[in-house]
C-alpha cells in the first residue's frame, strides 16, 4: 500500500473521528450548557472540513501514483 492510499484511508478515519467527537461535544453542550464542549467542537469540525478539502487536493496531486 502506498502513502497515497494509506493517507487517504487515515484521512477518512480522521474525518469520521473529528465529526463524531465534534457532534458529541455539541450535543453535550446543548444538554449541559458546558461552553468548553463547544470550544472543543468548533475546531474539530473545522479540521474535518479542512481534511476533506485536503484529501481532494492530495488525490488530484497524486492521481498518477500507484495505489500499492
Amino acid at each position: 500500500m502506498s502513502l497515497k492510499s494509506f493517507h487517504l484511508f487515515v484521512g477518512l478515519l480522521s474525518v469520521v473521528g473529528c465529526c463524531a467527537y465534534g457532534m458529541w461535544s455539541i450535543l453535550s453542550f446543548l444538554r449541559d450548557g458546558d461552553v468548553t464542549r463547544l470550544l472543543v467542537a468548533v475546531p474539530l469540525l473545522a479540521l474535518a472540513l479542512a481534511l476533506i478539502m485536503n484529501s481532494v487536493i492530495f488525490y488530484k496531486h497524486t492521481e498518477q501514483e500507484p495505489w500499492l
Partner: protein, 196 residues
C-alpha cells in the same frame, strides 16, 4: 556497490525494498500497540470501576494533541506529493511543518502528563492511569523518533534529495507511512482514554 531495489520495484514483491521493510516494521509496531491495547481492554473489562476519561483527563489538551498529530500526517503526505513536481513545490516547507506539528504532539503529551502528575495522579494511582501513562508514553517515544527522522531527512539527508531524488522520495514515503500509523494509533488512544 549499489543496493538493489532501492528505487526500482522488485518484481516478486511489487514494492521497492524500503517500503516492504517499512510495512514489516509497521506490522511489528501494530503487534506492539495491539498488545498494549489488548491489555488495556482486558484490565478495563476485569475492573469493577473504571473512571470516565473525559471527566478525569484534560480533554482540551488531548484535542489539541489530536489536531497536531493529524496535521503532522497531512503535512508529510503533502511534502511527499510535492516531490513529484519538477520544482519540488513546497516540499521543504511541508517537512518543517511536519516537524513543528510533531513537536507540538510531544509537548501536548508532556503537558498532559505534567497536569495529571501535578494533581497527584501518577501511574501507581490506579490501573486507568497506569495504562494511560504507558500507552501515551510509548506513543510519545515513537513521535520523538518520527520527528528525529524527519529532521534528519530535512538536514543531512537533503544531500540525497539532490544526488538521488527518486531514492529520497521513497524515503519520504516510508517516513510518511510511519506518520500515518502514528495518527491511527493516537486516534485509538484518544477514543479509549479521552472519550469513553
Amino acid at each position: 556497490m549499489s543496493m538493489p531495489y532501492t528505487t526500482e520495484v522488485r518484481p516478486d514483491t511489487g514494492l521497492y525494498n524500503a517500503k516492504l521493510g517499512m510495512w514489516l516494521f509497521l506490522a511489528a509496531e501494530a503487534m506492539f500497540f495491539g498488545a498494549l491495547f489488548s491489555s488495556y481492554a482486558f484490565l478495563r473489562t476485569a475492573s469493577e470501576s473504571w473512571p470516565v476519561g473525559s471527566e478525569v483527563l484534560p480533554v482540551g489538551v488531548g484535542v489539541v494533541t489530536s489536531i497536531a498529530v493529524i496535521l503532522a500526517g497531512l503535512f508529510i503526505a503533502r511534502g511527499w506529493s510535492d516531490l513529484a513536481k519538477p520544482d519540488r513545490g513546497r516540499h521543504a516547507t511541508w517537512m518543517w511543518a511536519t516537524i513543528v506539528a510533531g513537536v507540538a504532539v510531544i509537548i501536548g503529551i508532556v503537558v498532559d502528563h505534567r497536569i495529571e502528575a501535578g494533581q497527584g495522579m501518577v501511574a501507581a494511582t490506579n490501573t486507568f492511569y497506569a495504562c494511560w501513562y504507558l500507552i501515551t508514553g510509548a506513543l510519545c517515544a515513537h513521535v520523538v523518533v518520527a520527528v528525529a527522522y524527519t529532521l534528519y531527512l530535512g538536514l543531512p539527508g537533503s544531500d540525497m534529495r539532490r544526488n538521488d531524488p527518486v531514492r529520497y522520495r521513497n524515503r519520504v514515503e516510508c517516513l510518511g507511512l510511519f506518520w500515518q500509523f502514528l495518527v491511527l494509533t493516537w486516534l485509538a488512544t484518544f477514543a479509549c482514554f479521552y472519550v469513553f
